[in-house]
């Protein structure tokens, strides 16, 4: 087949891009070469629309060992140990085949982590579905949850936290973001940069089939009505093989046979081989007849672009082939020497004795296009003025119950009960709390992690929304007593070629960067997923933030269930009663406009750090950050978890009961302390200029707000826990 512009465009390349390829090569590429270009130059691999904006994110810090650019980020946790983590999207495949799409998403991110030499110790996920009324939603939820569980449970890595949202903007484009954390010795981290010439290039894992050819291009294409035709690009996950691959790789990594290693993710053999060579400033030569294939008559184009799962590419030290082969034989995995590193700085590929690719590496990597796309700024919306009358017919109890059973607030136990969250025996905080926590095996340390997103805030005002998600993640860390270390982000957006969507991306990213900088909470890895739209309708901007924190002594960890009768609950942070964009405004008042709550980074940092101090000194018995749904929802969750009630004091500077209790002002926490410590705790808070007030006193079983509310927690548990299982079983 002779390549021409039309074929290039069918490969997702723009006219100008095709022209540039021909100019670089000084000839027309053959079809395999075109395949390589289209894979490497597409959005998913090249970050061509996002690169210039991602540059502004803070990526370094005292604890950062490896920032973005490798398979995953790495942070120092002391004692010669490090944590490796990353989040990644698998949105489009999960919409088409929810079980396999989600499963392979989990498999892919785990490979990113163990490629670096780390044993995965925890999985997390952030999933966004369409409206609960939409006819596809239920099956998508069922399939995605089964897929995430099916893969993670089988490998034996606990899923310790996550996040689930429903919003009609995801009706035609769900989001499935999977995150993995791994643990590694600092001196045993493996990188993808190849070094040395004439080193054997090894292929291990599963055989190559025609799976997902052009998956990376699909991830960068808008869904259209012909979606069904794109179906064969979905892969089937094989967690059993991945488990073997994990063990085999870690076994081989125990000495120094490996020079560099890279999993075959998006764009398979193409991107893995090119990245290894590119980072090492080397060339690479491959003989595709050596690649283990599952199907007959696969051609070079198919072999290079296949996205078959559970495969790895390794550059070995000379002479280590025999030893490596023995390990992979033991684990019953394919092993083949398929090429070598060269000094040519080119990728040269042979098949049936012919040279089928001959392209300088830099053309495919560094020379990939970069765009500074047009984008539109979002103005801060004007605050809504609420007439007191709108509250007149509302009853606090009814509103509370309605919010507690809202799909976005209700308990997600139906989901996380299907995930093995205790395997590996180190989970000390399971899903359902502020953050999941796992012990660092055999030590006193523990790692906290959570995933957050706030698409409504980001949609209303991307800059504030971006900041808010980072702050919420930071608060989740604080609330369990962890020092926030770093984040990973999965930036899910619409079509970057549209100014509005690009603007959302630019400003959310700015907001994330600003907050991260201020909080000293750097970004060490991440993933951009554009083109999340169907038939021109884009999703709300949805950056997901995966936060990671360190607890020095796990015995000091704090959880959110109320602990003891007569203890005092303090509300930290100021309550102004901001209800625009709150769940109360949306669900009860039916108001969709207005700005999200303001972010004050000084308060965020100061409140958080002071609470951490109180935790480390042992004063805090339980803690929870106040987020979606506001104060009352937050305290009710603490009550439900602890199976206790509370007597809530009448707020001093009351604006209005509804605004006060359902407003979503930021930088707030509820903490439980003992009476005897009150004076001491107050003085510490005052000394640090932290705003607080005495919120209430823990009592048995009843939640009471004088003259306004008196309800047993059992009644609220019912509202909170039943919604999801009921929805799923009907």
């Amino acid at each position: 087949m002779i390549v021409n512009e039309k074929i290039a465009i069918e490969h997702g390349l723009k006219k100008t891009e095709y022209k540039k390829i021909c100019e670089l090569l000084k000839r027309i590429p053959n079809i395999t070469e075109l395949g390589l270009f289209s894979a490497m130059w597409n959005e998913h691999c090249s970050y061509k629309s996002s690169k210039i904006h991602l540059k502004n994110l803070p990526t370094s810090g005292k604890k950062v060992i490896q920032g973005p650019g490798e398979n995953a980020g790495v942070v120092d946790i002391g004692d010669k140990e490090a944590v490796v983590f990353k989040i990644e999207s698998h949105n489009h495949p999960s919409f088409i085949e929810p079980y396999q799409g989600a499963a392979t998403g989990v498999g892919g991110i785990m490979r990113d982590v163990f490629t670096m030499g780390a044993r995965p110790i925890a999985n997390l996920n952030s999933i966004h579905f369409g409206s609960t009324q939409h006819k596809k939603t239920k099956n998508l939820v069922r399939g995605v949850v089964r897929g995430i569980g099916g893969y993670g449970n089988c490998i034996g890595v606990p899923t310790i936290a996550g996040q689930t949202c429903f919003d009609e903007s995801y009706n035609g484009n769900i989001l499935v973001n999977a995150m993995t954390l791994g643990l590694v010795k600092k001196n045993k981290i493996f990188y993808s940069k190849a070094t040395g010439i004439d080193k054997p290039v090894i292929y291990v894992g599963s055989k190559t089939g025609r799976d997902g050819i052009h998956g990376a291009s699909m991830a960068s294409a808008v869904f259209d009505d012909q979606i069904e035709e794109k179906k064969p690009t979905v892969q089937v996950g094989d967690p059993f093989t991945e488990k073997l691959l994990l063990e085999a790789c870690l076994e081989l990594m125990s000495d120094n046979s490996i020079i560099s290693i890279q999993d075959m993710g998006a764009a398979g053999l193409t991107s893995s081989s090119i990245e290894m060579a590119s980072k090492g400033n080397l060339g690479i030569e491959l003989n595709l007849n050596k690649v283990p294939c599952r199907e007959s008559n696969m051609n070079p184009y198919e072999i290079m672009l296949s996205e078959s799962q559970e495969r790895m590419l390794i550059v070995l030290e000379n002479g280590k082939e025999g030893k490596a082969k023995k390990i992979f034989d033991k684990w019953n995995l394919d092993f083949a020497i398929i090429g070598k590193t060269t000094s040519s700085k080119k990728i040269e590929i042979y098949f049936d004795g012919n040279k089928v690719v001959d392209v300088p590496i830099e053309f495919l990597s560094d020379k990939a296009p970069e765009y500074d796309r047009k984008w539109k700024k979002t103005k801060l919306p004007i605050k809504n003025k609420y007439n007191k009358d709108i509250y007149k017919n509302l009853k606090i109890l009814n509103v509370l119950k309605k919010i507690l059973s809202n799909p976005n607030v209700c308990s997600k136990e139906w989901i996380w009960r299907q995930y093995d969250h205790t395997v590996m025996g180190d989970t000390i905080q399971k899903p359902g709390g502020n953050a999941g926590v796992v012990r660092v095996h055999g030590s006193n340390k523990a790692i906290a992690a959570s995933v957050d997103s706030s698409a409504n805030y980001c949609f209303a005002h991307p800059l504030t929304g971006g900041k808010q998600v980072v702050c919420e993640s930071w608060r989740n860390m604080i609330s369990v007593g962890a020092t926030p270390i770093a984040i990973t982000n999965c930036l899910n957006f619409g079509n970057p070629e549209k100014e509005e969507n690009m603007g959302e991306f630019v400003e959310c990213t700015q907001g994330i960067g600003e907050a991260c900088k201020y909080l000293n909470y750097p970004v060490v890895s991440g993933n951009v997923s554009f083109y999340n739209e169907t038939k021109d309708k884009g999703i709300k901007p949805t950056p997901s933030i995966g936060g990671v924190g360190l607890i020095q002594d796990y015995k000091k960890m704090v959880s959110m269930e109320l602990k003891k009768l007569d203890n005092i609950v303090l509300l930290i942070g100021k309550t102004e009663g901001h209800i625009d964009q709150s769940i109360f405004a949306k669900e009860i008042l039916n108001k969709k406009k207005g700005p999200p709550p303001e972010i004050n980074l000084f308060n965020e940092k100061n409140n958080g750090e002071t609470i951490l101090k109180l935790i480390n000194e042992g004063y805090v018995k339980s803690a929870h950050d106040v987020s979606l749904g506001g104060l009352l929802v937050a305290i009710v969750k603490m009550c439900i978890f602890g199976n206790k009630g509370i007597y809530i004091n009448k707020p001093k500077n009351l604006i209005n009961y509804f605004q006060y209790f359902f407003g979503e002002d930021q930088a707030r926490y509820l903490i439980e302390i003992e009476k005897k410590d009150l004076t001491k705790v107050k003085s510490i808070l005052e000394k640090n200029s932290v705003y607080f007030n005495e919120f209430g006193i823990i009592q048995e079983k009843n939640i009471v707000l004088k003259d306004k509310l008196s309800v047993t927690i059992d009644e609220l548990i019912e509202a909170n826990k039943k919604w999801l299982p009921n929805y799923m079983s009907n």
């Binding site: 569980g149 449970n153 034996g156 299907q418 093995d420 205790t422 025996g425």
Partner: protein, 227 residues
């Protein structure tokens, strides 16, 4: 006391049980399924996980491993053989234990704490155990114990039921049955009571900071019974 944990491809609770056995004083060895011979052991454990991915049926392919013959010999000579979760499934597939473990009633994976009542203490696993009701943890897709009526009669006549799902006071009721298991069975013995298969994972509950530490009672009792 010497114990051996068998690792099958896809086992994933092997480290957890290793940690637990060592914590309570066993000298433990990890044995790859490909071996033909078991080392000298007082206790052999088939761990939890997804041997062979749980493809086909849970435990079916592991039950054809090379090491199984020697395990059968070991059990027939009276050695203590414990299967936890996937290990239990392997034991039923080898027919060392009666019945099978079907898909959970709701056909969903289930991960949560449960209470189990120890139904028979006249054996080397539970003799002298200090509590009859333990809070343990389950995490499985296929824990729904099933057997024919004839088999069930034999199991009951021989007092082979080891553990029953119950509530914290020991009440046994369908309400507390997490997976549809016949008669709330969470674990069973062979006739001689030297083979025990159980769905709950005591090895995940051996520390106060985990959601229960009553797995410790299980291991302490087991070790003491060897002394």
């Amino acid at each position: 006391m010497n114990s051996s944990v068998i690792i099958f491809p896809g086992s994933n609770c092997d480290r957890d049980i290793d940690v637990a056995l060592k914590k309570f004083g066993f000298k433990n060895k990890m044995i790859w399924h490909d071996n033909v011979e078991l080392p000298k052991s007082d206790l052999v454990v088939l761990p939890g996980g997804f041997s062979y991915g749980d493809y086909l049926r849970c435990g079916s392919m592991a039950s054809k491993s090379k090491i199984i013959n020697d395990i059968i010999k070991f059990a027939n000579s009276g050695g203590l053989l414990l299967g936890i979760c996937n290990g239990f499934q392997i034991l039923t597939e080898t027919e060392l234990l009666p019945g099978v473990l079907l898909r959970n009633k709701l056909s969903e994976f289930i991960c949560k704490n449960v209470f189990v009542k120890i139904n028979n203490v006249e054996n080397n696993y539970f003799k002298n155990i200090k509590k009859q009701i333990l809070e343990l943890h389950i995490a499985h897709n296929e824990g729904n114990f099933f057997c024919s009526n004839d088999q069930m009669k034999k199991i009951e006549d021989n007092n082979q039921i080891a553990l029953l799902y119950c509530d914290k006071n020991g009440e046994i009721n369908e309400k507390f049955n997490p997976n549809g298991s016949s008669k709330n069975i969470a674990g069973i013995f062979n006739q001689k009571k030297n083979i025990l298969g159980m769905m709950p994972h005591p090895e995940r509950m051996i520390d106060k900071c985990l959601s229960s530490d009553e797995g410790s009672i299980f291991f302490e009792t087991l070790l003491n019974n060897f002394k």
